[in-house]
C-alpha cells in the first residue's frame, strides 16, 4: 500500500514539475519577450521609451539571463505567491484570476459528477441488458454525444434559448448577483445556473465512459464469483449491484485521470461560448493579446488541476480497492 502511495505521489510531483516546464515553454514560445510586447503596447499609446529603459526593464525582469535562470526565477516567484503581472489587465496575474480558478473547479467538478451520474446507470443497464433495444438506444445517444462537439452544442443551446425563450442561457449568475460578494443567495443562484453548462461539458465524455463501464461490467458478469453469488440464491438485482458492479467500479473510478483533462479542456471552450466566469475566457483573451504570464499561469493551473485530481482519484482507488491496498496489483 505504501509503495503504491509513494509511487503515485512521486509520479504526481514529477508530472506537476513537467507541467511547469511546459507552461514556461509556452510563455517563452511567442517571438519577442515580455518587454517587446510591453513596448508594442506602449507604442500603440504613443509613449516613447528609450533603449536604456528597455534594457533596464529586461534586467529588472531578468530577461537578459540564461533561460534556465529565468525559469528558476519564475518558479521561485510562484512559490512566493507572485505569478507575475498581466499586461492586458495591468494587474497582478492572481488578481485577474480572482475566483475564476474556484469557478473552474466548481464547473468541472459538476461536470465530472454529472458524467458519472449519467454514465454509471446507463453503463450498468447496457451491460446487464446487452443487445436489448435500450442498449442500442443508449449506444446511439452516446454516439451523438460523441459526435457533437460540446462548444457546438453550447452554441446551439444558446441559439435555441435565445430564439425560443428570448433568454440568455450563458453565465453562471443572474445579472443581479454578478458583481455581488458571496452570499447564500449567490450560492443558490450558482447552483441554479450550474447544471446546464456542466451538462454540456459532461456530455461528450459520457459516451466513452458508458463504453468503459459496459465493457468492464460485461467482463465481470462472466466471472465465477457471480456464479457463486447466484448459486447462493441472491436475487439478480441485488447480486449484480453488490458484486460485479462494485468490482467494475474500480477501473471506472480510475477513468478520472482520463476524464479530467477532457473536461477541463471542454470547459475552456464551452466557458468561452457561454461566457462563464471561469479561466477559459481569460485564457483565450490573454493568448490573443499575447499576455503570456497570464496565459502561462492559467495553463499551469489547468494542468495542475488534472494532476491533483488524478492523484486524488488514485487515493480514492486505493481506498476502495483492497487489491491495491494490499499491493496485489500495480496499477488500477
Amino acid at each position: 500500500m505504501f509503495a503504491y502511495f509513494a509511487r503515485r505521489g512521486v509520479l504526481a510531483i514529477f508530472t506537476l514539475w513537467a507541467v511547469t516546464v511546459l507552461s514556461f515553454i509556452i510563455i517563452q514560445l511567442p517571438p519577442g519577450d515580455f518587454v517587446d510586447a510591453y513596448m508594442a503596447q506602449l507604442a500603440v499609446m504613443e509613449t516613447d521609451v528609450s533603449e536604456q529603459q528597455m534594457e533596464a526593464m529586461r534586467r529588472q525582469y531578468a530577461l537578459d539571463r540564461p533561460i534556465h535562470e529565468q525559469y528558476l526565477r519564475w518558479m521561485g516567484n510562484m512559490f512566493r505567491g507572485n505569478f507575475g503581472t498581466s499586461m492586458l489587465w495591468k494587474q497582478s496575474v492572481l488578481d485577474v484570476i480572482g475566483d475564476r480558478l474556484a469557478m473552474t473547479v466548481v464547473v468541472s467538478l459538476g461536470a465530472v459528477l454529472l458524467t458519472w451520474a449519467i454514465a454509471l446507470p446507463i453503463g450498468i443497464y447496457s451491460a446487464v441488458r446487452q443487445y436489448s433495444i435500450g442498449d442500442y438506444a443508449f449506444t446511439f445517444v452516446g454516439f451523438i454525444g460523441l459526435g457533437v462537439p460540446n462548444f457546438l452544442l453550447a452554441l446551439l443551446l444558446m441559439y435555441l434559448g435565445f430564439v425560443l425563450y428570448d433568454a440568455n442561457i450563458g453565465g453562471l449568475f443572474s445579472p443581479e448577483y454578478q458583481l455581488e460578494p458571496w452570499s447564500w443567495g449567490k450560492v443558490r443562484d450558482l447552483l441554479y445556473h450550474l447544471p446546464l453548462p456542466a451538462l454540456i461539458i459532461a456530455l461528450s465524455g459520457t459516451a466513452e465512459l458508458i463504453r468503459i463501464m459496459r465493457a468492464n461490467l460485461l467482463d465481470e458478469l462472466r466471472k465465477p464469483y457471480v456464479i457463486t453469488a447466484r448459486a447462493m440464491g441472491l436475487s439478480e438485482r441485488r447480486l449484480i449491484l453488490k458484486y460485479p458492479v462494485r468490482v467494475a467500479l474500480n477501473p471506472f473510478v480510475s477513468t478520472i485521470g482520463y476524464l479530467l483533462p477532457y473536461i477541463l479542456s471542454g470547459s475552456v471552450i464551452v466557458s468561452f461560448v457561454l461566457s462563464l466566469p471561469t479561466l477559459g475566457p481569460i485564457l483565450l483573451g490573454s493568448l490573443i493579446a499575447q499576455d503570456m504570464f497570464l496565459a502561462g499561469t492559467i495553463i499551469l493551473m489547468l494542468g495542475s488541476l488534472t494532476v491533483i485530481g488524478t492523484f486524488i482519484s488514485d487515493l480514492l482507488l486505493m481506498w476502495i480497492d483492497p487489491r491495491i491496498r494490499f499491493g496485489m496489483v500495480q496499477e488500477g
Binding site: 509520479l11 514529477f14 508530472t15 513537467a18 507541467v19 511546459l22 507552461s23 509556452i26 514560445l29 511567442p30 517571438p31 454516439f143 451523438i144 460523441l146 459526435g147 457533437v148 462537439p149 462548444f151 457546438l152 452554441l155 446551439l156 444558446m158 441559439y159 435565445f162 430564439v163 440568455n168 450563458g170 465493457a215 485521470g257 482520463y258 479530467l260 483533462p261 477532457y262 477541463l264 479542456s265 471542454g266 475552456v268 471552450i269 468561452f272 461560448v273 485564457l283 483565450l284 493568448l287 490573443i288 499575447q290 496565459a295 502561462g296 492559467i298 495553463i299 489547468l302 494542468g303 488534472t306 494532476v307 488524478t310
Partner: protein, 367 residues
C-alpha cells in the same frame, strides 16, 4: 458452415478476412461511404462551389438562404427567385425580399469562375450555376455571411481545408507515434519508461488549453500555408501520444510471438525485423487507430479556428466559418451561419463509426 466455405476462410489473406468482418458492420460501411463522399468534395471543392469563396460584397451581407423551387408551371425546372435588398431605416440592418417575378433558372455543369482542377487542370465548369444572370449576384442557396460571401461555396472550400488538415495532422502524429511507440515497445527498459512518462505528461494536460498555448505562438504575419502547417504540427504534438500507445501495445505483444523470435534467430537486423516483420503484422490495428484519431484532429482545428487561434482568414475552414457565429445575437438573426457545424458532426460520427468497424474487424476478440 460448409467445408468449401471453411476452406475459403482458411486461405483468405489477412486483408480479405478483415474486409469480410468489416462488411458485416452495416453502420460502418455506410459511414465509410459518407467519408468517401466527403473526400470527393475535398478533391472537387472548386467544382462544387459556384462562386469564388472570397468575393465579398457589402450590399449582400447576411442574406438568408434562398429556397429552391423545383417546379415551374408543373414542369421540373429548378429555380430561385431574385432577391432585392434594402436597408431597414430603423434597425440599420439590410433586409432582403424575394422577387417572384424574377425567376433565376438553375443549371448543371455550367461555366463559372476559373480554377485548376486537382491543382493543375485548368477548368471553369461547376456543378451548378444559373442561366441568364451573374451567379455571384443571384444564387445563394445557403445564404451569405457578414461580408456578403456565399456560404455554400465557402463551405466547399472549408471542407477541403478541414478534412485535409485532419489527414496531414494524423500523418504527422502517425509518424511520431510509430517512431516513438515502436522504439518504446521494442527496446523497453529505460527508453520505454521515459517515453511512457512523456506520453503521460502530455496526456494529463487538458488538450485545448495546450493547443491554444502552442497555437498562440504562431506569428501573425505568416502566410496561410505557413499557418496551416504550423497548426498541423501543433495538433500533432499532442496527437501522437494516442497512436504511440497503440503501437507500443502491439509491439509488446508481438515481441513475444514466435515469428519475431524466428526472425531474430535467423539473424535479421532489428530494423529489418521491425519494418519487414512487425509493422506489416499490425497495419490493420494502426489503420483502425488512425481512423479513430482523425476526428479528434479535425475537431482540434475547428475549435482552434473557432477561437481565433487556428487558421485565420483568408484561409477558409469550418472553424473559420463558425467564428462568425461566436456572437449569439448574430446567430439569432442569421442562424445559417451555424451551417458549418453540420459537416463537423457528420464527419466526426462517420469517422468514429468507420473506425469502430475497422477496430472490430482488425481484432474481433479484443476489447
Amino acid at each position: 458452415m460448409s467445408a468449401v466455405n471453411e476452406e475459403r476462410i482458411f486461405v483468405a489473406s489477412q486483408w480479405r478476412l478483415m474486409w469480410w468482418r468489416f462488411r458485416k458492420h452495416r453502420v460502418a460501411v455506410v459511414a465509410t461511404v459518407g467519408v468517401v463522399a466527403f473526400y470527393l468534395v475535398v478533391l472537387g471543392a472548386d467544382f462544387f462551389a459556384y462562386t469564388d469563396p472570397n468575393t465579398t460584397e457589402a450590399y449582400r451581407s447576411l442574406m438568408p438562404p434562398q429556397p429552391i423551387r423545383f417546379f415551374d408551371d408543373g414542369k421540373l425546372s429548378p429555380h430561385v427567385y431574385g432577391v432585392v435588398g434594402k436597408r431597414d431605416l430603423t434597425t440599420f440592418r439590410r433586409v432582403y425580399e424575394a422577387d417572384p417575378s424574377q425567376k433565376v433558372k438553375i443549371r448543371f455543369f455550367v461555366r463559372g469562375f476559373k480554377y485548376e482542377f486537382l491543382g493543375f487542370i485548368p477548368a471553369d465548369r461547376h456543378l451548378i450555376g444559373v442561366e441568364g444572370a451573374q451567379v455571384e449576384e443571384s444564387l445563394f442557396i445557403l445564404g451569405t455571411d457578414s461580408l456578403g460571401r456565399d456560404v455554400w461555396s465557402r463551405l466547399m472550400y472549408a471542407t477541403r481545408t478541414s478534412l485535409t488538415i485532419g489527414l496531414v495532422a494524423v500523418a504527422l502524429s502517425l509518424l511520431l507515434g510509430v517512431l516513438l511507440g515502436g522504439i518504446s515497445g521494442f527496446y523497453g527498459g529505460v527508453v520505454d519508461n521515459t517515453i511512457q512518462r512523456l506520453i503521460e505528461i502530455l496526456r494529463s494536460i487538458p488538450t485545448i488549453p495546450l493547443w491554444m498555448g502552442l497555437a498562440a505562438a504562431v506569428p501573425r504575419q505568416w502566410s496561410v500555408e505557413q499557418i496551416y502547417f504550423a497548426i498541423t504540427i501543433v495538433i500533432a504534438l499532442r496527437g501522437w501520444t494516442g497512436l504511440a500507445r497503440v503501437v507500443r501495445g502491439r509491439f509488446l505483444s508481438l515481441r513475444e510471438e514466435d515469428f519475431v523470435t524466428a526472425a531474430e534467430l535467423a539473424g535479421c537486423s532489428r530494423k529489418r525485423i521491425i519494418f519487414r516483420h512487425m509493422v506489416p503484422s499490425f497495419q490493420s490495428h494502426i489503420i483502425a487507430a488512425v481512423t479513430l484519431a482523425i476526428p479528434a484532429m479535425i475537431l482540434a482545428e475547428t475549435a482552434l479556428s473557432f477561437l481565433g487561434l487556428g487558421l485565420r482568414p483568408p484561409a477558409i475552414s469550418w472553424g473559420v466559418m463558425l467564428q462568425q457565429a461566436q456572437n449569439i445575437e448574430t446567430v439569432a438573426l442569421s442562424p445559417w451561419l451555424l451551417v458549418a457545424a453540420l459537416p463537423v458532426v457528420v464527419v466526426i460520427l462517420a469517422f468514429n463509426f468507420m473506425g469502430d468497424g475497422l477496430r472490430d474487424a482488425a481484432d474481433p476478440y479484443g476489447v
